[in-house]
């Protein structure tokens, strides 16, 4: 039997399915064991695992919609803020051109919320003192000792009234003690909200150095542009700033003062810090008088680090303000409960579909159930892989999409089986009916599923995050559905009809020609069976012809018996009447 070409073809296709499944599992195994980044369970979205979601709408100062560039920059600033507050696994995405969606596992406290929705602040402050980011010192005993916590009785006010922003008298005794004990890694230390007119302790981006800074002398609005480029003389990467009139004047004063410190050798007071959100992103030394408002920052930049700094300075200069559009918390227990309900409902739904399929289609129902099982395995592993590669998270709406898809998937088979039955009713042999039914069902399935995929794609592109998850699973399952229909259901049917049980149309097989009225009609009227109509593929006709030549013994016997009957009653035609035998 394995020598016949539809059978060989069927086995080959099924082997392909096994290979595809194997490859998918292999990919995920690579993700899990190789890259340590994937998992054997799908990632769950906020509404299933619990957590807080805050949707922020970004607005520029003049009320216009922000550019995607600005939005991305704002999202990355928010990401830094959330990371800095010690929350791990926060998920920050931009959405719909104006929104930033922040998802945090667990409950967000008021401090975190405030931090998230405050607008980015870029400040320019003079450096008063700097130090490595250590909180310990090596004492006379040769061992590391933490600096003591500042004594609260120390004077918090300067000893003398400071004359300018670089004046060391800003550094009170208390501030000096705080500075020594200051821990850059402690999330409670958040200088982002410090008042502008007071000195500040801040750390650099990497948490390697800490600074005492004077009060803010300029803010981000002073910068009109910042670009990364190469120094025409040295070829090194630099960041060039352009300031507005007010900025030029103020920066000129600062430059005059700091340049004098450089000449006097008063390091680090000749440095000038750009502070974004309470973190020092750059603290260059003043190398000369800059009175034209076009300073450039040089240092050991790469193209990437120069571009990053330029972006930070430029977009920090255009602060976006955020309004909270929605904020909600789902407790972890509620999320788990929802997931459980979804899973239980899915299982019950599956069981009901299985029972109904078996009732209506008898043994053929088992093909539906098996196909849905294959579908489940493929969908599961693909969702795992997508969680790893694309950060896809299964939401409640996504689960609903999966459950709904059970019905869509089952329908592919219903369409196919009904077509097979129609062909049987036309008096065709079972093997021929499977091939011809396939040819007709295929067209219907392709066009109707493409409508589904279209719906999913349009929804995915246009809708907001809640609907997106649903659209995604709907589209995904439809694609897998068509794939399984071609690569599993059809070959399985081709193989099954070659078994005695299905091929002979056992009453329980769901393909009993007698029950389907085929034999009855062929006896009474011996209809002329329509020849293969246009639109059916050549390969289809070929495999059907092949199928007829490979009829089972019982089929031939029946065909012969019917032919005898037909000739004795003097009517033309034959029951299996393909005219191709």
């Amino acid at each position: 039997m394995a020598s016949s070409s539809p059978v060989r073809h069927a086995w080959r296709v099924l082997l392909g399915l096994v290979l595809v499944t194997g490859v998918l599992f292999g990919i995920n195994a690579l993700g899990v064991y190789g890259f340590q980044k994937s998992s054997w369970t799908p990632e769950l979205a906020l509404d299933l695992q619990g957590g807080t979601q805050i949707v922020l709408q970004a607005q520029t100062e003049d009320g216009s919609a922000p550019s995607q560039e600005q939005l991305d920059q704002a999202a990355s600033i928010i990401r830094q803020r959330v990371d800095a507050s010690g929350v791990s696994e926060a998920d920050i995405t931009t959405e719909g051109g104006q929104n930033i969606v922040v998802q945090i596992p667990g409950v967000a406290d008021e401090q975190t919320r405030d931090r998230i929705k405050s607008s980015a602040q870029l400040e320019f402050r003079a450096v008063l003192a700097t130090n490595a980011a250590t909180t310990e010192f090596v004492g006379e005993d040769g061992e590391s000792t933490p600096y003591p916590s500042p004594d609260p009785t120390l004077a918090a006010t300067p000893t003398a009234e400071p004359t300018d922003a670089s004046d060391l008298s800003w550094v009170s005794e208390k501030l000096a003690a705080e500075f020594l004990a200051y821990d850059c890694a402690n999330p409670d230390n958040d200088p982002a909200r410090a008042p502008k007119d007071e000195p500040l302790i801040a750390c650099d981006d990497l948490g390697q150095a800490k600074y005492i800074l004077g009060p803010a002398e300029l803010d981000g609005t002073a910068i009109t542009d910042a670009t990364a480029g190469r120094d025409p003389k040295t070829g090194a990467w630099i960041v060039q700033l352009t300031m507005n009139d007010k900025g030029t004047e103020a920066f000129g004063e600062v430059s005059t003062r700091l340049n004098q410190y450089r000449i006097d050798g008063l390091t680090p007071r000749d440095q000038f810090a750009f502070v974004l959100d309470g973190r020092v992103i750059s603290a260059p030394r003043m190398n000369g008088l800059i009175l034209d408002g076009r300073p450039s920052i040089s240092g050991s930049f790469t193209q990437e680090s120069a571009t990053t700094l330029a972006d930070q300075l430029k977009f920090g200069a255009l602060p976006l303000s955020f309004t909270v559009q929605s904020s909600g918390t789902v407790s972890a227990t509620l999320g788990t409960q929802q997931l459980q309900i979804g899973l239980i409902a899915g299982l019950i739904g599956l069981a009901l579909v299985a029972v109904y399929s078996l009732l209506v289609y008898r043994a053929l129902g088992a093909v539906i159930v098996a196909s849905i099982a294959v579908m489940g395995v493929l969908t599961y592993i693909i969702i795992c892989i997508l969680a790893w590669r694309m950060g896809f998270r299964l939401s409640l709406a996504g689960v609903a999409g999966l459950i709904v898809s059970i019905g869509f998937v089952a329908d592919s088979f219903i369409v196919y089986f009904e077509r097979i039955r129609d062909e049987l009713r036309d008096g065709k042999s079972i093997t021929a009916a499977v091939e011809d039914g396939w040819g007709r069902a295929k067209r219907t399935i392709y066009i109707s599923k493409s409508i589904n995929i279209l719906a999913a794609v349009v929804l995915y592109i246009l809708a907001d995050a809640t609907v997106k998850g649903f659209a995604f699973t709907l589209g995904l399952t439809t694609v897998i559905d068509v794939f399984i229909f071609v690569i599993f259901t059809h070959p399985v049917m081709q193989l099954l009809v070659r078994t005695r049980f299905f091929g002979n149309g056992h009453p329980l097989s769901g393909l009993d020609p007698q029950a389907l009225g085929a034999v009855y009609r062929s006896r009474s009227q011996f209809r002329e069976v329509a020849t293969a109509s246009a639109g059916r593929g050549a390969r289809n006709a070929r495999s059907r012809g092949e199928a007829d030549r490979r009829q089972t013994i019982a089929e031939r016997k029946r065909a012969e018996a019917l032919a005898r009957e037909a000739s004795s009653s003097g009517r033309p035609g034959s029951a299996s009447g393909e005219g191709e035998n």
Binding site: Q57, G96, V107, E110, R113, V324, Q325, S326, S327, G328, T329, V330, S331, L334, Q337, Q338, I341, G342, A345, I348, G349, L352, Y356, S357, L359, V360, L396, A397, V399, A400, V404, I406, G407, F408, A410, D411, I414, E418, R421, R425, R443, T444, I447, S448, I451, L454, A455, A456, V458, L459, L462, A463, D464, T466, V467, F470, A471, L516, G517, R521
Partner: protein, 329 residues
Amino acid sequence: MASMNEFGNNLYTGKTSFPFVGRRRLWFIIAIALVVGSILVPLFRPIQFSIEFTGGSQFTVQAPDSVDQRTATEAVHSVVPTATTKVVVVSGTDIRVQTDQMSDEETQKVSAALADAYGVEPESVTSSYIGPAWGENVTRQSLWGLAIFLALTFLILALYFRTWKMSAAAIIGLLDVLVITIGVYALAGFEISPAAVIGFLTILAYSLYDTTVVFDKIRENTTEDGDQTGRTFGESVNLAVNQTLVRSINTSIVAALPVGAILFIGAFWLGAETLTDISLSIFVGILVATYSTLFVAAPLYSLFREKEPHIVARDAKVRSARSKAVVDA
């Protein structure tokens, strides 16, 4: 299921035939009545929009000592005396309070007051805030999605079936489904929530999918008829609908079963709002979509095509041949 088989056989041969096309005037009257009824539902039963659309603050108290609803109102009023509150018990054990929009500070205080009043840990009170623009944005995006989807579908179906009349019939059938589904949804007293919107969007996909499957059979029958046929165009369409009737019934049952399972479990057992909202809209939608394909889209298509000159001519030929046959007999 022998009777089901026999039913299918008779439908296939035309022995049993439901007059989907023949009595279309009746079906159209019923459809129009249903649509008008659905549009009138909000008049005596206003459509409730969920907090996502209206904006506001929402507090959920998990597993409080008692589910006395007055306690919640008192707790809220102790902070904001003028606030309107809506208190419901969800899942049988939790209290949910919806109020006007509150400031962050008020939200904190109300949470604390609720935790205190119900004797639970502060962590057991979760709060959410929905700005008024949110629902508006979602609705606007959904409507855009709907418009673009319909336009694309119209085009694709017109290309595939080689006639825009199938596209038109399918999309009119779809609108029929949407209006009736939303009407039934409102009648059931459910709030329109984002989850329900997702459900309606699914119904779009399902309804067109279902119609396409039946239309493909109609296409097959009407194109295979050729010029030498014993059936008028309308009869051909009607036969196709009857021949796919078993599929339509089986599909709608199989599709409705899992959704029904969610609906049942969600609504009566544990109370999962998102799932219940989605599944109610889809459950109703599946049944209405199946109905609409059979009783609205298919007869409408027949109506659109029957006036075409060559079809009029062919149908006349078929009828005259038939009356001649009757006379001959």
